[in-house]
């Protein structure tokens, strides 16, 4: 029974962390190129809706993932136009983008679900439940493929940013756009590509939330998870591995909050429900002051 409890707990942590990991990577790749991706919440929400609609209409959850990727690219291009080429203030644009996505997704969903019946999409299911053992093989079968894709992306992002030449150039744009430009780099192009990649990952986070967790859509269903991913990047000091750790920590807090109620320690449920946030706060405080890419958030204009 104890093994069963732990197996359930670990698979719940992975389930909760998966959308956060995608979004955290989406924020991280942008900030490493000097762009604050505050619009992560909006991209995630748009991806979540696109994934559900495409999966319902095609009957195939992977088509939902493809649709989310498409929406992510579109969101990235819009953000790139606004924050890289104009360039508008990145924080204000991100906030406005989130608000627009909130309104548009609710409006579109309301239009499409005229009958009043909730859409249930085909989901990306785990091969089977967690069983009674906590082993890599058992867990591999107990989570959806998107969880493993997320973990793979963490590794790939780390390798790209810290073990390749283009990754070094990418980071140099985030540290000093002017110096990168002087060295012959096209800052606009790098930042645009970063925003497209970041929004694509964020939208994939939305797809992981819907198709990999709860295969339906409701208004504002991301519930601030994009912002939690933003905090995870700060906690993780702009490093993919540490950001993953932060996402797992938050997932663990959430899973523990529910299980603590089940264990019945006799406290008010509010105390348990605070757990994920308290854990995150303590972890961030324990990490101390973090310094991000120097040019993150600074608009770049030639000349």
């Amino acid at each position: 029974m104890e093994g069963q409890w732990w197996a359930d707990f670990v698979s719940a942590v992975l389930r909760a962390a998966t959308p956060l990991v995608f979004c955290a990577l989406g924020v991280l790749v942008c900030e490493r190129a000097g762009i604050l991706n505050i619009g992560v919440e909006g991209s995630m929400l748009a991806g979540a809706l696109a994934a559900v609609l495409a999966a319902v209409s095609s009957g195939n959850p992977w088509m939902g993932v493809v649709a989310a990727l498409g929406v992510g690219v579109a969101a990235g291009l819009v953000l790139a136009l606004l924050t890289v080429y104009l360039p508008a203030d990145q924080v204000a644009t991100g906030i406005a983008f989130n608000l627009v996505c909130l309104g548009v997704t609710s409006f579109v969903y309301k239009l499409l679900v005229l009958g009043g019946v909730q859409l249930m999409a085909p989901a990306l299911r785990a091969a089977h439940g967690p069983g009674g053992r906590v082993s890599p093989v058992a867990l591999a079968a107990a989570v959806t493929p998107l969880t493993w894709i997320a973990l793979l992306f963490v590794l790939l992002t780390w390798m790209f940013l810290f073990r390749t030449g283009p990754g070094l150039l990418w980071r140099s744009v985030g540290e000093s756009a002017r110096a990168a430009h002087a060295a012959g780099l096209n800052v606009f192009r790098v930042r645009s590509v970063a925003l497209v990649a970041g929004s694509l990952l964020s939208a994939l986070g939305g797809a992981a939330l819907t198709l990999g967790w709860v295969p339906t859509f409701t208004d504002n269903m991301t519930m601030g998870r994009g912002f939690i991913a933003l905090a995870a990047v700060y906690f993780g000091r702009w490093h993919p591995g540490l950001a993953l750790l932060a996402c797992l920590l938050f997932g663990a807090g959430e899973a523990l909050a529910f299980r603590a109620q089940a264990l019945g320690a006799g406290f008010n449920p509010y105390y348990y429900l605070m757990l994920p946030y308290v854990l995150t706060l303590v972890a961030v405080a324990a990490m101390g002051r973090a310094v991000g890419p120097r040019d993150a958030g600074k608009p770049y204009a030639r000349g």
């Binding site: 359930d8 719940a12 389930r15 909760a16 136009l81 080429y85 104009l86 360039p87 609710s106 309301k110 679900v113 009043g116 019946v117 909730q118 249930m120 939330l209 967790w213 709860v214 295969p215 339906t216 409701t218 208004d219 504002n220 269903m221 519930m223 959430e254 899973a255 909050a257 529910f258 299980r259 109620q261 089940a262 006799g266 406290f267 008010n268 449920p269 509010y270 429900l273 204009a301 000349g303």
Partner: protein
């Protein structure tokens, strides 16, 4: 410089044009309204209502039941009902005051979370009726206030009867959105009624922490299923969908909250314990239009609650036993003790 300036100008131009288009559209609508001849001799009754969530017609059961009530006011009584959606609790008082300022006859509060606004605004506008359509134990100090207050303990009793009769494992799960006293009352009724039917029943009561996060709702319902619950009653908001999904994946059944929720999850819906909110709204309309509406709290007991069709989810014999128990409950013939389980929400 020139390209970016041009792009900015194009964007600003588009924005201005779209705003002008919107304004023109509004103007057109106003003109159309002016051209319509006066259809009613008597002015329509105007009521304003606000929901804390968006799209109440498709949200959780509570809001859907209210929506059915609003439809009854519009279609059966010809009332003009203005609906505010997604009004945060902090803005409820301002919205309600806005309705009163504009000369609305009634302002309706469908949610006990709006109680503070109900108390704050009603005394400031003594010529407007303010009506609470949710739990209410005392009225604000104003001449034109009323409440239709569902007896949540009795409602919980009906839930408990159904769940205890339907469970095979002997474990039932109750899921609440936010830990508020009203849910302690409801869950207490469910626990006592379930024990009345089946003394060895185990009842799990957990709270999600919000009304809308479907993912969290799914996790909590899945946890209850892991602990043996095969019948789950979620008293939450739009997040309820997560419970349906968990029930479908885990082979459990759901007792729907407040309105017939069958269409949302036909595979898992056992039945729904309905709150007859349309009847509450019709009572209000009848009394208002006949001039008999007075300052009072109407306690809506078990006679305002009922079950939706089981649609073959249980054997006929079990359904009949449940219906007999419910009929007795409505007549007050079931000696279920009233015990409030404060331990659900320990301080």
């Amino acid at each position: 410089m020139s390209k970016r300036s041009a792009a900015r100008r194009v964007l600003a131009g588009l924005l201005v044009l779209s705003l002008l288009g919107l304004l023109a559209g509004c103007g057109g609508a106003a003109k159309e309204q002016k051209q319509q001849p006066p259809a009613q001799e008597k002015p329509k009754v105007k009521a304003g209502i606000m929901f804390s969530i968006v799209n109440p017609a498709r949200a959780g059961g509570w809001d859907r039941a209210d929506w059915a009530g609003i439809e009854a006011l519009r279609n059966e009584y010809g009332w003009e009902v203005t609906v505010g959606e997604g009004v945060p609790y902090a803005q409820t008082a301002a919205t309600a005051a806005g309705y009163a300022e504009k000369g609305y006859d009634l302002v309706i509060f469908p949610d006990a979370g709006q109680t503070e606004a109900f108390r704050e605004v009603a005394p400031k506008y003594p010529k407007t009726w303010f009506v609470m359509m949710s739990m209410c134990d005392n009225l604000p100090n104003s001449p034109r206030v009323a409440a239709w207050s569902p007896d949540l303990y009795a409602y919980g009793e009906m839930v408990g009867l159904v769940a205890a009769k339907a469970t095979k494992s002997g474990t039932i799960g109750l899921i609440g959105g936010v830990p508020v006293p009203a849910l302690v009352t409801l869950f207490s009724g469910a626990i006592e009624a379930a024990k009345f039917v089946r003394p060895d029943v185990k009842v799990l009561t957990y709270f999600v922490g919000d009304w809308v996060d479907v993912a969290k709702h799914r996790e909590l319902a899945a946890l209850q299923i892991q602990q043996g619950a095969d019948v789950i009653f979620p008293e939450t908001g739009p997040g309820t969908l997560g419970c349906y999904e968990a029930a479908q994946a885990g082979g459990a059944k759901i007792v729907g909250f407040a309105w017939d929720m069958y269409e949302d999850a036909p595979k898992v819906m056992l039945t729904s314990v309905i709150i007859n909110k349309p009847r509450m709204y019709k009572d209000l309309a009848e009394q208002f239009m006949s001039g008999k509406l007075e300052k009072k709290i109407v306690n809506c007991g078990a006679e305002y609650f009922g079950l939706s069709d089981f649609r073959g989810s249980l054997p006929e014999q079990t359904v009949k036993e449940i219906q007999d128990l419910v009929a007795k409950l409505q007549k007050g013939e079931l000696p279920i003790p009233v015990v409030i389980h404060e331990e659900i929400m320990k301080k």
